[in-house]
């Protein structure tokens, strides 16, 4: 039978199928962080169960951590408590833990690929919806809830029905100034935030083939924002090249053996999808969001749509625009902004900082802009320094913070104040996502850079 990439990986991980029920799916890698795990560990304790495969489990601290003075004790007692709980749980169960200050510390979806925990053909879960990031390597990776975290800790399995399959093909060439983030925001704007609910997406076509691994991660990361369980891209030479010789990837004979499996990971010609969509890469512009969900995005040069032209309820749309302080028909270009946030598992990797510095080089930060530049991991932070990007940033009057999720979800002190506008390279522009009352405009690192030096929404193509 002809199979898709998704079928191949899913089917080979089914321990058992329950009639008119879910599949029992074996999980190869489980990533754990401090926020969604403590109640799961507590559940294990109550049931008197151990962690079944500590060697398949990896813990890092990221959601709740400060991004300044990480060498000092964490000031917020609740955050400190959560971090301590993870450290103790990891220790008690023999799980490797990359806590604050550890040289491998960073955002869970950034460090996974960096150290080769992420591998093609693997099933990977984490109690965070952007686990879909790891799909860039041809893995089935998705976010789970805390009950499921407990399930995986205790049984290394989860129980879920097999999702439907969607193929998104984008051919053609991307234009100047168009980044993987724009590709993703473009797709979400077409599908809406529920357009892929119930599906697992495979991305194919020239555009994805030419993306770097980091670019593929950005796209797969945002799959969840159109409702999909996850997204994946078939592994190719680029993938193998990227993972080779990383700490946790197989070596020598084991590598050859793994390669034999990995080479089978592609969608068979003529395999069936439940839905197929095709877009043209050359039609994508630099994107920006204007509303309160990631589907409310558009080309940066366009005007905010009129109520009569949108799908969905008028009242919900009006509420969203009112929250943002925008009106229909307004142009985005030229709107004044207050904050710029570079970071998160969407755009907190080295290529994102390269893109950002490519624009700001030789300019100065606009005086009305507060900028938070937060590397996704220590490895990214080190690279920023080694490549001389730090100097460019400092010359332009930007400061770098220490790694973590930071203002992506604003659980720590990095909160955008109420009413302020932030151009963010993160993944969610929900009401209050970046702090109570904050107003988020999602965009690429290039758009963020252009805003950071001009103090307003600016088409980055005018600065390239």
């Amino acid at each position: 039978m002809k199979k898709t990439l998704f079928d191949k990986v899913w089917d080979s991980h089914v321990v058992k199928s329950i009639e008119d029920g879910p599949d029992v799916l074996f999980i190869d890698r489980h990533m754990v962080h401090e926020v969604t795990s403590p109640v799961a560990f507590l559940g294990l304790k109550k049931r008197g169960l151990p962690v079944l495969h500590p060697e398949r489990t990896f813990a890092t601290a990221d959601h709740n951590t400060p991004t300044v003075n990480q060498h000092l004790p964490v000031a917020d007692p609740l955050s400190r408590n959560q971090l301590k709980a993870l450290e103790e749980n990891a220790k008690n169960h023999g799980i490797s833990y990359w806590g604050l200050g550890h040289k491998k510390n960073g955002i869970v979806h950034v460090v996974g690929p960096e150290y080769g925990i992420t591998q093609p053909g693997a099933t990977i879960v984490c109690g965070d919806s952007h686990t879909s990031t790891h799909g860039a390597f041809g893995a089935i990776a998705f976010g789970i809830g805390t009950s499921e975290v407990e399930m995986v800790l205790s049984t290394q399995c989860i129980m879920q029905p097999k999702p439907k399959k969607m193929l998104i093909t984008i051919n053609g060439k991307l234009n100047k100034g168009v980044t993987p983030k724009d590709v993703a925001l473009f797709i979400i704007s077409k599908l809406t935030t529920s357009g892929a609910t119930g599906y697992f997406v495979e991305y194919a076509g020239e555009v994805f083939k030419h993306l770097t691994m980091e670019g593929r991660m950005t796209v797969c990361n945002l799959s969840i924002e159109m409702g999909a369980r996850g997204g994946m891209i078939a592994p190719d030479e680029k993938t193998f090249e990227y993972i080779k010789n990383r700490e946790f990837t197989p070596k020598a004979k084991a590598w050859d053996k793994a390669m034999t499996y990995w080479k089978t990971l592609y969608t068979d010609e003529g395999a069936d999808f439940d839905t197929e969509l095709i877009f043209d890469g050359s039609e994508i512009d630099p994107m920006i969001t204007f509303g309160t969900n990631p589907g409310m995005g558009m080309s940066i040069t366009k005007a905010i749509p009129n109520t009569k032209d949108i799908k969905g309820g008028a009242a919900t749309y009006a509420k969203s625009l009112a929250y943002m302080g925008f009106s229909e028909g307004e142009s985005m270009i030229g709107k004044s902004i207050d904050y710029v946030f570079i970071g998160s598992c969407t755009n907190g990797r080295i290529e994102d900082f390269r893109a950002f510095t490519s624009i700001i080089k030789g300019h100065k930060r606009a005086s009305n802009v507060t900028a938070w530049l937060v590397p996704g991991s220590h490895k990214v932070l080190d690279a920023i320094k080694e490549e001389g990007l730090l100097e460019i940033l400092e010359n332009a009057e930007f400061q770098l913070r220490e790694p973590g999720c930071s203002a992506c979800l604003a659980m720590n002190d990095d909160k955008i104040p109420a009413g302020k506008y932030a151009v963010s390279t993160s993944n969610r522009n929900f009401e209050g996502r970046q702090g109570p009352g904050s107003r988020t405009l999602l965009a690429s690192p290039l758009v963020a850079a252009a805003a950071a030096i001009t103090g307003k929404i600016t088409d980055p193509r005018t600065l390239i």
Partner: protein, 198 residues
């Protein structure tokens, strides 16, 4: 974590006619710092429910004494966004046992089923009728019958069936969860683990 079993629920409802309600609204991230599952109900819809000085926003439905009950009626794409199970806990801990909508986000739906909240997906038309009926009479009761997979407006008798897979249904009826099941097939799992390539 086991929960109370669900059989037939007859209750008045709380209507929330807003689309794309995301889990950041259901429970904002700053309330995720707990290491125990406690107190989430108090912060359900925190920023829609309270002003920054913690005074209640009187126009929000949870602060409106006209509406109460164990059933929350939502709109299209309820529970989108973050995978935080805390959202489902908050719904449960507040006292809801059932959420009705014309469309649920995936992870939220799954989380609900894992913690004992029954997500009932109905047609957009029936949802409209429910909203209308409740608007006319806020004391309107719905009967959610899990064994028969049927949801009925008590006053008019209008009803619709809903889907739930038989495995999850069995769990809900008994208050079991997946770990109970998985622990019973331990040997299958360890055999599988021994032969996996990665």
């Amino acid at each position: 974590m086991a929960y109370d079993s669900f059989y037939i629920l007859k209750s008045s409802v709380v209507p929330l006619p807003i689309e794309n309600v995301d889990t950041d609204q259901i429970i904002p991230a700053r309330f995720l710092k707990a290491t125990e599952r406690k107190g989430f109900g108090d912060n359900l819809f925190r920023d829609w429910r309270y002003n920054q000085d913690n005074s209640p926003k009187l126009d929000f439905v949870l602060n409106n004494p006209t509406y109460s009950g164990k059933i929350l009626i939502g709109e299209h794409n309820f529970g989108s966004g973050s995978s935080r199970e805390h959202a489902a806990w908050a719904v449960y801990d507040y006292g809801f046992r059932c959420v009705v909508s014309s469309f649920f986000a995936d992870i939220f739906k799954n989380n609900c089923l894992n913690v004992g909240v029954l997500p009932v997906q109905i047609s957009p038309d029936f949802l409209k009728i429910i909203f209308k009926t409740v608007k006319k009479n806020p004391k309107t009761e719905l009967i959610v019958n899990l064994p028969n997979q049927k949801i009925t407006i008590s006053s008019s008798g209008r009803s619709e069936s809903f889907d739930i897979n038989s495995y999850k249904k069995e769990n809900m009826l008994n208050g079991y969860d997946d770990i109970d099941y998985l622990n019973n097939i331990k040997d299958d799992i360890s055999n599988f683990a021994a032969n996996t390539p990665l």
